[in-house]
Amino acid sequence: MALNEHQPFVVTKLDEFLTWAQSSAIWPMTMGLACCAIEMMSIVSPRYDTARFGAEVFRSSPRQSDLMIVSGRVSNKMAPVLRQLYEQMPDPKWVISMGACASTGGVFDNYAITPADTFLPIDIYVPGCPPSPDALIYSLMQLRREIRAGSKTKVLAENA
């Protein structure tokens, strides 16, 4: 969904409005796998409070959520389940790979764990083991910037 300066004013503004709406109310899915899930639960706790960003509504059903936070290590048995859940989510959807295990396998370099990007397209990787809730909220902010800008390359260009 690129912003093209040559598009008419109305469409551009509509785009901005849509991305503003999408980024202001990102509803994650309750996809807690392991330890990172506990830190993910902490972001709705009073100290970190993602309610102020519109993201405290964790929907259990993939049909009603737009963000999948892969919070925890992904085992071989769980990966097809995650893939199915991802496919059940309606567009537009985003995926945050939270933690070292979801991003790269983390501390576990063995037969049982696979990184999330081997079967899902990831938008944001969050480092940490587990990442503190601050880090997850920062990643959410980054995702919002990315949604508003329309693409990742635009965000990088703006922040350069």
């Binding site: 899915m29 706790s45 290590r73 085992s75 587990p130």
Partner: protein, 410 residues
């Protein structure tokens, strides 16, 4: 009832059970579910809303921790071992560290300050774990506010952890031979503040939930299990104590000087979800008492044993002494050897008896770290506890058994 899921895929007619004169439905609850406390699939055979049989399926978080630990040095293995029961990381490390110390025969030499701090932080971990249990269990039952109270208190504990060890979860602070680092200045004030605040907050939380008519209605009489059956199904920890058996590893087989602390082992007799609920609430009070006593003791002295073959020398010494440098190098590059042998060490984790049967082949890596996972046996007990209840009760039962799937699947 055993279900062959592969067969189900090719022959969906298996969903209809021939010979059953009721219309039964097989519902797969999980592995993504808000109330299963992690990645658990329970195949429920339902008659309307009543569960006829339940077959839990696990393995969705199998991480190969035991295999990973066989490929890491003894000190390195502490990091992966932390991540099994991820709500109580220090309990896991304590078990492993105690096992390794007993194999090395240095368990009697651990300085008192290290032992007191180990007890204090293990009890803080137990509190943190029970607070997550309280918040999520009540959230499953529909009480959302208590989640915020519990997590706010947990944040205070995690702040203390971060202040002392550098990490909120997965601290890897207990090391073989003592602790990684000593507590910083200002720790005593922080812990005194926590000790002062906690009882009132706990009483606030208890006032909300313990006699609440909805919680009582949803938990009393559900998931009842008797003593003999609890033992047959391998239950330990709060589920066993809720049936009236005060089996607590801290009192039965004391470690880390737990026999010198004054605390009770709360029990109930009815063995249902409400009994387990009350047992865990009472345990929080006892943990607070132990932390208070540990704070009062707070001895000075070193936090590691004085054996440079096992514990690296302090950094300041490495700058002057060649020997210290060599010791440090050897420890970091190739660890230390643990004499051949095997030992079963158990600790009282928040979930029950957490044990490790550690086998050493004399090398610098563990030969085998067999975990005795308390949640594994508790999840299996769902086969016995769920039938006869409604689906909503299954949620209450899972919460009351408090499984952590890192512990179940490892």
């Amino acid at each position: 009832m055993t279900l062959d899921l592969r067969a189900l895929e090719s022959n969906p007619d298996l969903l209809l059970t021939p010979g059953d004169d009721r219309d039964t439905l097989i519902l797969s609850m999980g592995p993504q579910h808000p109330s299963t406390h992690g990645v658990l699939r329970v195949m429920l055979k339902l008659d309307g809303e009543t569960v006829i049989s339940a077959e839990p399926e696990i393995g969705f978080l199998h991480t190969g921790i035991e295999k990973q630990a066989e490929n890491l040095f003894w000190q390195q293995a502490i990091t992966v071992v932390d991540r099994a029961d991820y709500l109580a990381p220090l309990s896991n490390s304590l078990c492993f560290v105690l096992a390794a110390e007993r194999l090395l025969d240095i368990d009697r030499q651990i300085p008192e300050r290290a032992r007191v701090l180990r007890v204090m932080f293990t009890e803080l971990t137990r509190l943190a774990s029970h607070l997550v249990w309280l918040g999520t269990h009540c959230l499953d039952l529909g009480a959302q506010s208590i989640f915020f109270y519990a997590f706010e208190m947990r944040e205070r504990i995690l702040s203390i952890m971060e202040f002392v060890t550098g990490a909120r979860m997965h601290q890897s602070w207990f090391r073989i031979g003592g602790l990684a680092i000593d507590v910083p200045k200002g720790f005593l004030d922080t812990i005194d503040d926590f000790i002062g605040r906690f009882p009132d907050r706990l009483n606030d939380m208890r006032a909300i939930v313990e006699k609440n008519v909805i919680i009582v209605d949803r938990l009393v009489g559900i998931g009842k299990i008797g003593q003999q059956e609890a033992i047959d199904w391998g239950l330990t920890g709060p589920p066993l104590r809720a049936t009236g058996i005060a089996y607590d590893v801290r009192r039965a087989h004391p470690y880390c000087d737990y026999d010198t602390y004054d605390f009770d082992v709360p029990t109930q007799t009815t063995g249902d979800c409400y009994a387990r609920f009350v047992v865990r609430l009472d345990e929080m009070v006892q943990s607070w008492r132990i932390i208070k006593q540990a704070r009062e003791r707070f001895p000075g002295g070193p936090v590691v044993i004085d054996d440079r073959k096992i514990v690296p020398p302090p950094k300041t010494e490495i700058q002057h002494s060649m020997e210290a440098l060599i010791h440090h190098f050897k420890l970091v590059s190739s660890g230390f050897n643990v004499p051949e042998g095997h030992i079963y060490q158990s600790v009282e984790g928040p979930r029950g008896e957490m044990g490790m049967y550690v086998t050493s082949a004399g090398g610098n890596k563990p030969w085998r770290v067999r975990w005795r996972p308390s949640s594994f046996y508790h999840t299996q007990a769902l086969k016995r506890l769920a039938p006869g209840n409604l689906i909503a009760d299954v949620v209450a039962i899972i919460g009351s058994m408090d499984p952590v799937f890192g512990d179940v699947d490892r």
